[in-house]
Amino acid sequence: MALSREQIAIRVARELKDGFYVNLGIGIPTLVANYIPDDIDVMLQSENGLLGMGPFPAEDEVDADMINAGKQTVTAATGASIFSSAESFAMIRGGHVDLTVLGAFEVDVLGNIASWMIPGKLIKGMGGAMDLVAGAENIIVTMTHASKHGDSKLLDRCSLPLTGAACIKKVLTDLAYLEIADGAFILRERAPGVSVDEIIAKTAGKLIVPDYVPEIQY
């Protein structure tokens, strides 16, 4: 069965390592913060200028001057630092963030990602996404494997305008965890109860299927 949003977040959280600085995009990536393993410390970076993002505030802690990149009211964790947008993106673009998790419309076998613009629809802008994909060595894309109409989002070449070129190496969908290398998706794990055949059917881009593809354990 396809993974739930929470299950995707739980699987992503396993990629976190002790001492990681992590930027979590809006949507499913944000949920990852709820599943950080107890035995590790990570520090969350919010690109509007906060390193060490804490949980949402209690009612009496709400502060209009303390928000995250999703414009939600948040708190600062003990030991946080707050800075300008230029400093924040110096961190991001300078490669100091250990892991970035973000959503996408499409990913392809070259590691290209399209996540910000659907021609013909209203274009709201890329925000910090282009900076994040250009700045991080280590990026996990989370998305559904196929659209509601059944069209694969894992392609040979992205059809939509790119957010970044040749920058994605890891994709977690509702069906599978895949790595991108040497011009192909490599199927590393599958959602519990999802067959390799289903993943093959829903992956338009070149797919390499190893002999053994374990199920993701929950």
């Binding site: 509007n48 209009a64 928000i67 996404a129 282009m130 250009a134 970044g164």
Partner: protein
Amino acid sequence: MAGFNKIVDSYEAAMAGLEDGMTVLSGGFGLCGIPENLIAQIKKSGVTNLTVVSNNCGIDGFGLGILLEDRQIKKMIASYVGENALFESQLLANELEVELTPQGTLAEKMRAGGAGIPAFYTATGYGTPVGDGKEVRVFSGRSYILEEAITGDFAIVKGWKADKFGNVIYRNTAQNFNPLAATAGKITVVEVEEIVEPGELDPAHIHTPGIYVDRVIKGNFEKRIEQRTVRAAQ
């Protein structure tokens, strides 16, 4: 002697000299740390054909969104827009020009504008529509695009506390683009919640040194919250 006393007493005086066709840089991220009264003064002044540079364009009826009501904005340079219906309708009707710029590039462009750097290379946007028509250059095997600095005729900035010399500190994440806009305006206007005596701000912890600031005004702020999010009570 007037010396370094940059305090003005009215919003008219704060925005004096703003004319049709000028470029205005604004601090703020979403509705956080926006110079809301300076924006309201721009609306009141009725100037038109503005180019506005800001990460976002406010919402319907608040922040930079109110400058859309009388079509005062000709061109918007931003990283993320469309949180308001009026923006969308003017955009679709070709009444508004939009130049979408990655958030980090936008921040760096303003900083560069203030720092005398006319252009810089960045990996952000390479291979995307943002890179179209821009010079590509390879450094150490990686491709980068050339991005030019931004400066403005005016910069409008929201601070927390300032002294009369124009030294400013920002509160929490209301800092965002404010100190960058402050460096890059020919005339930089800062509105703050509190004016303090010179010396009250720790010299080593001033976010915007007064050299960048031309006018300071004390305002009252609504500080509207865009996404009020709280955790469940324990």
